[in-house]
Symmetry: C2
Subunit: 256 residues, 2 copies
DNA sequence: TTCTATTTGTGCGTATGTATT
DNA sequence: CAATACATACGCACAAATAGA
């Protein structure tokens, strides 16, 4: 992007950022701050393309170099993103998704005023991959219930989750989930009054075709993958869940 | 993908997966399990391209349809990834990066046998964006120290972090960091015996040009962004850090 | 540059075993 | 019992993108 420097930010403060104005035009920092303010004030809309660099630079009375330096700074902060030969776009607002030891999906979504919903896409009883069995601390060839759940806010799909539970203990979890529409409630009906996530593993990777279709992502989209193990009060693993979020739509917040 | 169903997995077990073998060829599940085992056993190497679908299907004695169904299942689990018209590749192993309330970078890397290093790229004193000031609970126009740090394992860049600290309290943090090479130590020398991360915010987005260059990512690469606020024992925010990881290289694990 | 071979993505038609109605 | 629905599996064919000559 900026061919004018090999460093991400300048090494020393210097410049004409805040001091006396000995130059007529703005420093790249002033430009970045100005654009930052305009974005915060809502001048540009979500995912909207900004004016072409030449146009915007002329409007601000600065060189294209300076503008590009400012844009690069905002891009690193995640406010803008650049698509080569197409333009500069405003990064989409992300739905903040709190994920703590006890968070339920509904708790995460309702504060935003959106209406949460959970739908069981499929359930099946099967022998899990060895890694899943290990994490659930069950025998290698014992069965699990595998649930596929899509959760949405205001009808727009937010996450696509696969959840594994020991079949011996949670034989009817699928039907219970289907009737109450919440994993938390279904587990209570199964005799687990409380459970806690004990560990989270977070990665990001390109979305598969299935994930793109379910989450409504376009080609080249990424998913944010959150895997977690939950345990009942005795420390026994109750279930393992693999959440996939459209990366550009959410921000996951974790309380420590 | 599989045009034979609108669902990601079949709803019921059914099929001829485990039962008596009345057919000669394997079910797609058996194929997935076989490939899973071969991958776990190390038959294919990291990021290696698998044989072409036609070749692999013939070798396994199944149709290309069945093979594709199995590949789709493994792709959703993150073991493989497909690049259109190029091939199917083994997903790269990820460096697990534990990020808890008190984790230090060195603690995260040393168990792997890799040699950690941290390099201060730049430091500067400046007025931060309003959002940063708010999170640090300092006056809107008071100064902060902004550090740019690249951390590497065995010389390969792992993370690129921007760290903001109140300038009034941590005026010499940059020089201290440069001499000891660890933020934790530098903060101790600044009179902060202990600090804890109180909250994490995790997102993923396309890497900017700067990030690609620093982290050595290729075009189209994604960064996993982890933002966290740390506080001293009195609850006063000490610093705010913005970590960027090459998404395909790491897995972040969080103890709750 | 154009041409070609390779490879994945997608669609259709058909057959079969299992489960439900 | 039969009729139906469905997941599964196979073969063939073509489109679209890529890589190399």
């Amino acid at each position: 992007m900026p061919p004018d420097t090999s460093r991400p930010e300048e090494t020393r403060a210097g410049g004409a950022a805040g001091g006396r104005a000995t130059r007529r035009s703005m420093s790249w920092k002033a430009v970045a701050a100005k654009l930052d303010g305009e974005i915060a004030a809502g001048k540009y809309r979500e995912t909207m393309r900004l004016p072409a660099e030449t146009v915007l630079a002329r409007a601000l009375g600065i060189s294209r170099h300076t503008l590009r330096r400012a844009i690069a700074a905002l891009e690193v902060r995640g406010l803008l993103y650049c698509v080569p030969h197409k333009g500069v776009f405003l990064a989409p607002l992300r739905l903040s998704f709190p994920l703590g030891a006890k968070t339920r999906f509904a708790d995460a979504v309702t504060p935003t005023g959106l209406i949460p919903s959970g739908q069981l896409i499929s359930q099946q009883r099967c022998i899990p991959p060895p890694e899943i069995a290990r994490q659930l601390r069950i025998a290698k060839r014992s069965e699990v219930i595998e649930l596929q759940v899509v959760r949405a806010a205001n009808g727009k799909p937010l996450s696509y989750a696969t959840i594994w539970l020991p079949a011996e203990r949670f034989g009817r979890i699928g039907d219970l989930f289907a009737s109450v529409g919440e994993l938390h409630e279904a587990l209570i009906l199964h005799g687990v009054p409380e459970f806690r996530r004990s560990e989270l593993r977070v990665t990001a990777r390109p979305a598969s075709e299935v994930e793109r279709r379910i989450l409504g992502l376009e080609a080249g989209g990424f998913v944010l993958v959150v895997e977690s193990t939950s345990r009942d009060p005795t420390g026994e693993p109750t279930h393992l869940s693999l959440f996939r979020f459209g990366a550009e739509r959410v921000e996951i917040t974790i309380e420590l």
